[in-house]
Symmetry: C2
Subunit: 242 residues, 2 copies
Amino acid sequence: MTYCLGIRVDEGLVMLADTRTNAGVDHIARYGKMFTWERPGEWAVCICTAGNLSITQGVVNALNEGVASGGRLCPSLFDASGMYAVAELVGEQMRRLEALHGPTLARAGVSAGASMLIAGQKAGERHRLFQLYDAGNFIEADEDTPYLQIGEFKYGKPILDRVLTHASEIPDAMKAAFLSMDSTIRSNLSVAAPLDLAVIRADALAFETRRRVWEDDPGLVAISKGWSRALFEAFRALPPVG
Amino acid sequence: MTYCLGIRVDEGLVMLADTRTNAGVDHIARYGKMFTWERPGEWAVCICTAGNLSITQGVVNALNEGVASGGRLCPSLFDASGMYAVAELVGEQMRRLEALHGPTLARAGVSAGASMLIAGQKAGERHRLFQLYDAGNFIEADEDTPYLQIGEFKYGKPILDRVLTHASEIPDAMKAAFLSMDSTIRSNLSVAAPLDLAVIRADALAFETRRRVWEDDPGLVAISKGWSRALFEAFRALPPVG
């Protein structure tokens, strides 16, 4: 399982992904699910993936080949007219991989389902966040819906609904993302740290943060413990219900 | 959709159920999903249902006929040797209804899936809580797992994992139940008040509480607003994460 979260606030983009994959309970592995491409001053793009790993790795491989070959082997996302066109390009690759592997996987009774979060900004455009489905279609976050989730999304949704708006500042968006992930990790064993974190501030056209956050990261531990304590105290302080 | 929650703590049993059912977004109705049987001093039994309404209503109808006919039309749960035997009786009825309607429903592409929470106590036994699956099999809550959920359970699970233990007192179990339901109602439109609440204190062998809680219930509103405010303040007070 997987949990990836993308937040788009006025100030920028915050992306957070876990790194656990599993095929059954006895085949657990760690795979990065966050991929970034950057051309400072022009482009910053972050993609997070969930679902069938062979499909999502195939898509990411094609995107890497496109960039590395300057668009010769596959269209390069750096040649796209903007983030919407990047999402279209990723969707095309998703459809190609689904068509290639879907029928065989279906016969084997394995889901080819996959989904992605695509975030970033091109110079001259606003920063944007999309969620791509396995059919290659996609939706975009807007002011009313400042976050998108893929994978095991339910446990971590209530906290986002309570504290996030498009006007939230980046540090608050990061806090909300970590709390959402913390709730998910506590409730689903197949979602686990280390986490991958990316922050793209609006109009910076570069990554402000792109790092791996380990289980024992002081910031992660502090927010996790602090939140547990705060929730417990808030719970105690509530009046009894009749 | 449905969300029902059963909590078993040392002090007793707390059951909470929503009342919304839907078949698509334009066919929304209110149905009680909590059913109770009581023989003060001998028995207090509470059942909450989720899933295919024709199946669950069929099971409840059989249980009611059993009690009303003194076991003539169907075994009466008041004749059961204890709560485990009550769960077995409910399971038998579940299997009967599944066998009756399952194949036809499957041909119509409709799920016959259903599940139930069965809580209560018989004189001379401890109080017990079971979760019954559509195959008629069931599991029991114990000291390590003081709660069981059916229906749309994920949104309301994190808060339970944080604050509940088997040693929690009844008022705290009630608070936790309402907060769990509040998170679910906020995140899923197809779960909605009014709610049905039942409390069976250990060894009371009668319902301490069995009432409908409406949207505008002062206690429900107070805890919902109080929790929102407390979470928001706790969120603000947390340190930023790197």
